[in-house]
């Protein structure tokens, strides 16, 4: 029976993949053709979704983007034998956009059946866990430290150091918490992993549990990701059934339990201490630090809180070794970063690559420029708290330190492209408005500063005492940056000030270089 892959990824579904899958099944049946439809993750080349891949004797052959009305002609043309058709793409892995990536964390996404544990095992799954089970706890942590992995949620804190702190914190109970509250606009890598290869996250969390002696894990998943929840729960169930979760994992005597918990639409719950409050059943108010969650975390116990991509990168590190992972990247940014190209871009998608590529290469060589065909004017990197970059900054390499040097952040790797129709004063105002909407309300600079920020920007744009209000806006941003409890209020000035500094004309200002 010919295997046909059609994605179950949310974005593919949002373009009609479900209807395409049904049409292929029905029409193949009625034509007497034998096809087994596998619902895989997405390869991440979203301008080609809904994508169909067919397993033929010459390897996998892709067709896309496919709409329901194309299915009949595809089947008639001999799609199931990999024959030619106007939508024929050949081997997707030979397309430059895919070929030039370094898929370490995303190695299986789009390739396998995400919830089939045998498929996972057949594609190097659980090799990291197998190695980890043979190692001492300190040796597992050492591999992670050696890899140079830094938190992929945005803060880029060295993962090994965090793990070591939890390992050395004595307690009767410790927890592994996965931050899957991926709320940044322009990001979807966590979602793609959870929908496209949930076992890799489960394996990473299990290894984390072994490393620090935690027996319970929670995945705090944003409620906006219903498809990820389904995939995770299917995979968790399969892992329990096959002895990869629960008591006595693979007869090692080790225990690790895992559960998915849903968020409820609060962006702030992506901040780790707010997330812990939420998991405990409270309002997501940010906690004071110290104590660090690694010492006093969930229910007061030592807790690793890591982002999805950080945890999903653990299996390859334990499989191939910290050194292997470290050999990718530049400077102090080691390994790969799954970048997400979004907004007004011709070829949006997931691009996992070693640190060091420039933004320009990504935007033009792979992204193909704007979707509208107009010039790219501004690019926001790192979510709603990330800076807006202008054309003159596009040669910056994608590296944590290089971005910090231009007062920008890589964050979670989301890149949102705007063409020249964008009004940057509007975007600055929106950044403040978003902070009003999502501030937890605990600290004054964030709670009140954001509201005042909206008002001050409105006054500048209306031309009311422009110079005075511009000074006031900068002063307000300064207070928010240095006076806020967490990154929500502390980083909202990034998009605001970068818009003001690089695009003063949109505020009706002549020159406002800081």
């Amino acid at each position: 029976m010919t295997r046909v892959f059609i994605s179950r990824d949310s974005t593919a579904l949002s373009l009609g993949a479900e209807q395409v899958a049904k049409a292929v099944e029905q029409q193949a049946n009625s034509k007497g053709l034998s096809a087994e439809i596998v619902r895989n993750g997405s390869r991440g080349l979203f301008w080609l979704e809904p994508l169909i891949e067919v397993e033929t004797s010459q390897g996998r052959v892709a067709y896309g983007p496919v709409q329901v009305e194309d299915v009949a002609s595809l089947l008639d043309a001999g799609m199931l034998d990999g024959k030619q058709h106007p939508l024929f793409l050949g081997n997707i892995e030979e397309i430059a956009y895919f070929k030039n990536q370094n898929r370490l964390t995303f190695a299986r996404v789009g390739l396998t059946d995400p919830v089939n544990i045998d498929d996972y095992l057949a594609h190097d799954g659980y090799r990291g866990l197998k190695n980890a089970l043979a190692l001492q706890q300190t040796e597992i942590v050492k591999q992670v430290t050696d890899s140079g992995l830094r938190g992929r949620g945005g803060a880029a804190f060295p993962t090994g150091i965090k793990w070591n702190t939890v390992l050395n914190a004595p307690a009767d109970q410790k927890y592994i918490v996965c931050n899957a509250d991926e709320g940044d606009s322009g990001t979807f890598s966590d979602r793609m992993i959870m929908e496209g290869d949930p076992f890799v996250l489960i394996e990473g969390m299990t290894i984390a549990g072994l490393a620090v002696g935690a027996t319970q894990g929670y995945i705090y998943l944003r409620v906006e990701y219903p498809h990820a929840k389904i995939a995770l729960n299917q995979a968790i169930e399969a892992a329990y059934k096959n002895g990869y979760l629960g008591e006595n994992i693979q007869n090692s005597g080790k225990t690790f339990h895992l559960e998915v918990r849903s968020g409820a639409g609060a962006y702030i719950c992506g901040e780790e201490t707010s997330l812990l409050e939420s998991l405990e059943g409270k309002r997501g108010l940010v906690r004071f630090k110290p104590p660090l969650p690694a010492i006093v975390g969930l229910f007061g116990k030592p807790t690793i809180v890591n982002n999805v991509i950080s945890l999903a990168s653990i299996p390859v590190i334990l499989d191939k070794g910290g050194e292997y992972y470290k050999n990718y990247g530049m400077g102090r940014s080691r390994g790969t970063l799954p970048l997400q190209l979004a907004g007004n871009i011709k070829h949006p998608g997931l691009f996992e690559v070693a640190f060091g590529m420039t933004l320009r290469e990504l935007l033009y060589d792979y992204g193909g420029g704007s979707a509208s065909g107009r010039p790219i004017r501004a690019v926001q990197v790192g979510g709603p708290l990330g800076a807006y970059l202008h054309e003159g900054q596009f040669d910056t390499p994608l590296d944590y330190e290089a971005f910090a040097a231009i007062s920008a952040v890589l964050g979670h790797g989301g890149i949102v492209v705007h063409d020249d129709t964008v009004n940057m004063a509007d975007m600055a105002r929106y950044a403040m408005e978003f902070c009003v909407e999502e501030s937890c309300g605990k600290c004054t600079p964030c709670r009140i500063g954001s509201t005042r920020g909206v008002e001050v920007i409105d006054r500048i744009v209306e031309g009311v005492q422009k110079d005075k209000n511009t000074v006031l806006l900068r002063d307000l941003c300064d207070t928010m940056t240095y006076g806020s409890l967490c990154a929500m209020g502390g980083m909202t000035p990034f998009p605001v000030l970068s818009a003001l500094n690089h695009f003063p004309e949109d505020f009706g200002l002549q020159s406002a270089k800081a």
Partner: protein, 158 residues
């Protein structure tokens, strides 16, 4: 609005099944909203009692999270993404259009009770902006024309 007495057994059962779960308030609230479509204000008393919390604490949690609602939603809930990526692809035009077509603002329900409209900040569908969801279905590259087609489909399916 439904009489709470008819909803109460459902609430009590959800409270019962989550009794032993650590940090159970959000799962309980999700359970109630998933089943009843919203969290009846009267349920706060029962939730508080079962969890040994004050009613203010329970209400505080419900009101903190954008997703939880205390009024019944329309038959279908439309969520429109307002975040940057969707803005870069004419999301604001879509937002204005949707409000006009439905004749309601955010957090409101149409007079015929078919549609509720809510804002959302990112659906993780940023590669195909602008995005909306109708109930649990995500839709990408939603033009105003596509929005009207979807509206007609959902109205027709009623």
């Amino acid at each position: 609005m439904q009489d709470y007495q008819t909803q109460k057994p459902t609430v009590l059962e959800i409270l019962n099944t989550h009794q032993a779960m650590p940090g159970n308030l959000l799962p309980i609230l999700h359970g109630i909203q998933d089943t009843l479509g919203y969290i009846p204000p009267a349920a706060v008393v029962d939730i508080a009692k079962a969890l040994n919390l004050s009613q203010a604490e329970v209400h505080g949690v419900i009101s903190f999270y954008h997703y939880f609602r205390e009024t019944p939603p329309g038959e279908h809930t439309i969520r429109i993404c307002r975040a940057e990526s969707c803005q870069a692809m004419n999301g604001k035009v879509l937002e204005t259009h949707a409000k006009q077509q439905l004749g309601i603002d955010f957090h409101e329900t149409t007079a015929d009770g078919i549609f509720s409209l809510e804002p959302v900040y990112c659906l993780g569908n940023c590669a195909c902006s602008p995005s909306i969801t109708i109930d649990d279905e995500v839709m990408g590259r939603v033009t105003t024309e596509k929005f009207d087609r979807l509206l007609a489909t959902y109205k027709g399916a009623k």
